[in-house]
């Protein structure tokens, strides 16, 4: 099969993915490290390679508002942001999911001020886990491109109608270059039909949208919204299967297990760090240790069943979090732990907090995490939330 591979960054891969989806309206405000995506999209519009309109909004709040407005008349929309910008959108994120506008967004994961940092961690999107959006975290540039195409199929599905955020690690993915295959436009057009929704204003069938609800019916609206996000689990699986049949690549649905078949000790992670964990797993396997990786792709909806299935088979689970919910745990850990608590067997658990504000997570550190999990198995280490490789003395 003839392939069309080009050497591009993660940001550019996202832009190519969006272009192939033919959105009608793109509205975005620049923020590092998302900027290259919106620059490329602007160039594509200028060159006439895209029919969509690019709106130069004066803020992220307006970016999401423009997308909601365009979606409310049945247009396909795209926005992109990061960090402070994503937080500035927060009101609109809840509004968009409640209004059931299937907007697709690229978020370049970046730390949140203060202190200022333009580098990556997951504190921006994880702090908005409850805003009603489907959240996927990708591991490389190809997955970023492919997930843009899948995202529109998932978000616009009639039983889902929920916006979706595709998360790329800032700099580690957004600014590194890889060979990426650009799918054929005709195939994408066949895979992704035009956006059709009953949830829109039109002159043929005028509607009043985004209304108020009373205590009598608010819970029912929120129940339906929750059902829709749960329903997306099936849709995510269908779409990934069809994607594989069409484009020859698959992403293993909600999670990807790497060498977990007979594993005793597993590390769980999201995003680009999974690549490093794979390398360490391979090394330790060669040394005879039964270790594996669970790459969580979707944080919402959460892969509860997949985590439970794994927890039934293993003795220890560690979770790497580029996040801390101050005063408790990393958010990925809290979610994983909730699923583990639903299985009957005991699993030793630990949370490893690091990579904050763009600090590298090294192979040596990951190896150390596996050893600490083994130490938990022979009871020489307690279950705990540990900031690893701290450069300050602690009395812990």
């Amino acid at each position: 099969m003839k392939t069309n591979k080009i050497f591009i960054s993660g940001d550019e891969a996202a832009a190519y993915g969006v272009k192939l989806c033919r959105p009608h309206v793109i509205a975005a405000y620049p923020i590092t490290p998302q900027t290259i995506t919106v620059e490329r999209l602007s160039e594509m519009v200028e060159k006439g390679e895209m029919d969509g309109e690019y709106m130069h909004v004066e803020s992220e709040h307006s970016a999401i508002s423009v997308c909601m407005g365009a979606s409310s008349v049945g247009a396909r929309t795209f926005t992109a942001s990061s960090s402070q910008g994503l937080l500035y959108m927060a009101e609109g994120l809840h509004y968009a999911s409640g209004g059931r506008y299937p907007i697709v967004m690229m978020n370049a994961n970046r730390s949140v001020a203060l202190p200022w940092s333009i580098y990556g961690d997951h504190r921006d999107s994880l702090s908005l886990l409850d805003c009603g959006w489907i959240q996927v975290y990708v591991e490389d540039a190809q997955e970023a491109l492919d997930m843009m195409i899948q995202a529109y199929r998932i978000a616009e599905h009639k039983d889902v109608l929920t916006p979706m955020m595709v998360n790329l690690d800032g700099f580690i993915l957004t600014h590194t270059y890889e060979l990426v295959e650009i799918p054929d436009q005709q195939k994408v057009d066949e895979f992704l039909p035009a956006f059709v929704t009953p949830n829109k204003m039109s002159f043929e069938e005028p509607k009043n949208l985004a209304f108020s609800s009373k205590p009598d019916d608010n819970t029912e609206f929120k129940y339906q919204q929750n059902q829709a996000v749960l329903k997306s689990i099936d849709v995510i699986k269908e779409v990934d299967q069809e994607f594989e049949a069409t484009f020859g690549r698959k992403y293993h649905d909600m999670v990807e297990e790497y060498r977990c078949e007979d594993a005793e000790v597993v590390l769980v992670a999201i995003g680009s760090v999974c690549g490093t964990v794979r390398v360490v797993v391979d090394k330790l396997r060669e040394e005879g240790m039964k270790v594996g990786l669970l790459k969580i792709r979707f944080m919402r909806p959460f892969p509860e069943q997949e985590v439970k299935d794994l927890a039934k088979r293993v003795k220890a689970i560690g979770v790497i979090d580029k996040d801390i919910s101050f005063g408790y745990e990393g958010t990925v850990y809290t979610n994983v732990n909730s699923a583990i608590s639903k299985v009957e067997n005991y699993v030793y658990k630990s949370n490893f907090i690091g990579g904050l504000g763009g600090r590298d997570i090294t192979k040596a550190e990951i190896e150390d995490m596996f050893h600490k999990l083994y130490a938990g198995l022979d009871k020489s280490r307690e279950e705990k939330v540990e900031f690893f490789s701290l450069n300050v003395e602690t009395n812990e």
Binding site: H24, S65, V66, G69, V73, E91, Y95, M201, F203, N208
Partner: protein, 302 residues
């Protein structure tokens, strides 16, 4: 854009009998609802209406009782202009033609929290008519001071007492700030002068790109006035010169009404509970502010 003469005047004879905003739960005598109702009659069926959080959205969209007979949507409080921009752009990108997108936002939603998005909308010259119905405070939340609350007004966040006369600042100069964007068409109006307002809406309807109308709309609940005097008090405000009727078009300001003599400011103020406490000195400050404004307008806009 079209010149004034090309557009047929709107009057009682040629105005539609159709209603696009009714069955809502606004207070008796609500000036804002009059501003919305009249404008939608001019704009007609092929209209997308966007309203931020505020009185008109609160009284018009209580599920399952929807009060707009044409397309309408509530936006976030700061996002009225940008959501309307998205509607206009989305509909255009879908190939729709011959329609108008309109915003109805209150004074707080416009001059305060929604101002950034409004400035962006005008800067991009998006095809949206933005109508600010100004009742001079955050009425929906219970009469708090906004950037368009005039000096001396008693509100729940600017109570008048021994130490303070109520609101200490004058109204933000909204119309001129909007005009400074070099917008294609902007106007001020009052529901006390409906014919003037209707024809300004009509002019804006025929303006391609961004347009703006600042319409003075009384609020019996917030102002402490009898419900049956809403239109009259909105006329009084213009007649005493505290509210002016003007346009900005083709880069020029125009005063639509330039009375030789103003009606009495104290008479206008004393009809309203929100101004009952004002001292002679306060009224003097208000009068001086009006005179200064008018001398500037007469010097530059005539």
């Amino acid at each position: 854009m079209n010149k004034v003469l090309d557009i047929p005047r709107v009057n009682a004879k040629n105005m539609t009998d159709k209603e696009f905003f009714y069955g809502h739960k606004a207070c008796a005598g609500c000036g804002g609802s009059i501003a919305v109702r009249l404008a939608l009659k001019v704009l007609g069926e092929r209209t997308y209406t966007a309203l931020p959080a505020g009185c008109m959205s609160a009284v018009g969209f209580i599920f399952p009782q929807m009060a707009f007979n044409s397309n309408a949507i509530i936006t976030t409080f700061p996002g009225a202009a940008s959501m309307a921009s998205g509607i206009a752009m989305g509909a255009k990108a879908l190939g729709q033609k011959d329609f108008k997108t309109v915003v109805f936002a209150g004074d707080g939603g416009t001059a305060d929290i929604g101002f950034q998005a409004l400035s962006g909308m005008i800067d991009r010259n998006d095809d949206v008519l933005y109508i600010c119905y100004d009742n001079e405070a955050y009425m929906n939340t219970g009469i708090q001071k906004s950037g368009l609350t005039p000096y001396g007004t008693q509100t729940t966040t600017t109570p008048a007492g021994k130490n303070l006369p109520g609101t200490l600042t004058h109204k933000k100069n909204l119309f001129e700030i909007i005009a400074a964007h070099d917008i294609a068409y902007a106007a001020t109006a009052s529901i006390g002068y409906p014919q003037d307002y209707l024809n300004k809406v009509n002019k804006a309807k025929h303006t391609k790109g961004a347009s703006f109308i600042h319409v003075y709309a009384s609020c019996p609940t917030g102002w402490g006035t009898p419900t049956e005097t809403s239109v009259e008090i909105a006329k009084d405000a213009v007649d005493c010169g505290l509210i002016f009727l003007a346009e900005y078009e083709d880069g020029e300001f125009k005063l639509n009404r330039n009375p030789k003599e103003f009606a009495s400011i104290p008479d206008y103020l004393k009809k309203q509970a929100r101004f009952k406490h004002l001292s002679d000195q306060d009224i003097e400050i208000i009068t001086e502010h009006r005179d200064k404004k008018w001398s500037r307008m007469r010097k530059h806009w005539l």
